[in-house]
Amino acid sequence: MSYLQRSIERGPLAFGLCALMVCVSPAVANETIKLGLSVPLSGAAANWGKGGEWLCKQAAQEIAKGGGVKVAGKVYDFECVAYDNKYNAADGTKVAQTLLTRDNVKFIGGSLGTAPVRALQSMSERDGVLLFTTAWGKAIKGPKFPLTFTQMNTVYEISKPLLGFVKQSNPNVKTVALLNPNDATGQDVEAADRANWEALGVKVVSSDWYERGTTEFQPIAAKIAALRPDAVDLGAAPPPDAGFVFKELKALSWNGVKVITVGSGAEGVLATGQDAADGTYMGAAMTFDSPATSAKQKSLNDGVKTATGESVNAIQIGFYDSVYALKAAMEKAQSVEPKQVAAALPTVTFDGFYGKSAFGGVAMYGSPQQILVPVIVSQLKGGKLAELQRIAPDEMKGR
């Protein structure tokens, strides 16, 4: 039998086998969109980064289970890729280069820390990459940066209602001492807090700075205690640092009103500050024992607690919301091109951590790049965080 004959006889068999293989092989895999994350994974702010990474991955999993992101006849899944920016500009630059040049990501699902984010933004806007950030500098938003979106309430949303509430609850507060980390984040918070305290008729008796990574807070605590301010506002201090400062202040017999304007992690403050942190007002922390807490929020909080040992906080939540915002915008734009997705983002609403959310903020920033979610005023009471007031953004009312 010739080779030609054998081929002709076996041809239908081979064809049948191939057809069978095609039939039984799994469905074609969805395409993947990488979401880069530039976050601190070490140091005092490590838990923010770890929790943010976990929430990004969780949102990506939920979306994949729900059928993925459907754009122009294709289905996409998200993949979150995180690198440690160590909360400083130098490492932020390294992370930016890794994400944009090596990993070639087109979407930054979240970035943390004004200094590293500025390093990242200088590349992302130029390279046409859509950037979500928890950094709150006014200088990083506006029409000049059309691809940048802020994924959490910033000090400009938090400071005024929080400090107003504190002053209303403590009318005897006449003087305040401010202490912030000496970086872009701290400088932004200090400027906003100073203006809001002064607008409330409270005199700022001192405003000091410390370097992130500082391990000794006794000297600055001695200075603050000697000034005897009615209130101490630790602005942008990470929770463990804030706890240590309050602990040192208590040892020096100071016992006034304690505020961490953008304070987010109650456990971190309590871990280092213990009973010295009792009574602290916080503007970016969340409590999960209120009846208003949804099952989804409780479940996400449990997940973050397992991953980091601490409850979820407002900084981390942005990493969850940004993934859902991207899904909504991509499906509205029917495109995965960052510029088209960015154009669609302010026009969509999405079901985020807090429920129905959107982007706005034209009046404050000149363009709609700020996420619209409620400001939660909370206080540490008896070793637990208690929600005192929840203020929804006015702009959401019409959406």
């Binding site: 005092a44 370097e211 000794e216 006794q218 000697a226």
Partner: protein
Amino acid sequence: MQVALQILLTALQIGAIYVLFSLGLTLIFGVMRVVNFAHGQFFTLAALLVAVLDPWLATKGFDGPLAYLVSVLAGIAASVALGAVVYRFGFRRFQRDLTGSFILSVGLVLLCEGAFLDLFGGAVRVVPPIVRGDVQLIGVTIAAQRLVLAGVAIAATAVLYWILATTRFGKAMRAVAIDHEAALLQGIPCERIAFQGFLIATTLGAIAGAIIAPISAVTPVLGADYLVKGFIAVIIGGLGSVPGAILGSLFIALIESAGGFFFDPSIANMAIFVLVMIVLMVRPKGLLGHG
């Protein structure tokens, strides 16, 4: 007066830890003529182990001080073991080689930081307080825990000073530090003295780390801040000089304390760097350096 006392006591408390840390650095330089930038890693490992073991032992029924003591011993033992390995396979080959030892120690910093980050995670760890409450000392309020820990640091420094000043081993170590070749000619086993000196220095770093753990936020990069301050202290005091390391450490602590009080911690940090520049211009070998 009250303010001056507060600043002075704060400086003494901070300085006690800096002294322990910088003594380790200066001892290694003295006996081996190497600058060990990885010294902070021994400090960090001990602090991390205390921060992990102390709460764990507490859950197993150990009471506060006992849990702390056991975790301190474990932390010091692990750091000394790491020191022995690092010496045996690394520094032993780079004695009196500043360039080689610099590259080795910087590499070790990167290796250890990465390993600690993987092993312990990057999040801040907190050790429960060993001693609670505050004490009044000459009209100034101080946390009792800080006072106890500063006392331990001062006692450890005193023991080291006594060993160096009075024991046969201490005299041999000083002889090696002053003139390595003359010590060899006198029959002093320099290799063994260098190894033992390295281990003592490691122990000092580990004690400092274990002491600082209950009053600090412990992370895998904790040692970085202390390495910079400790290094500046020995530069100011004079590399290889034990009294110089003590003087330099207390000087830095005083600037940190007074600068933090009258200005802010950032300015105090800058002042420390300005000071080291001035000292190096006026006395390039440090205040008490002569090598």
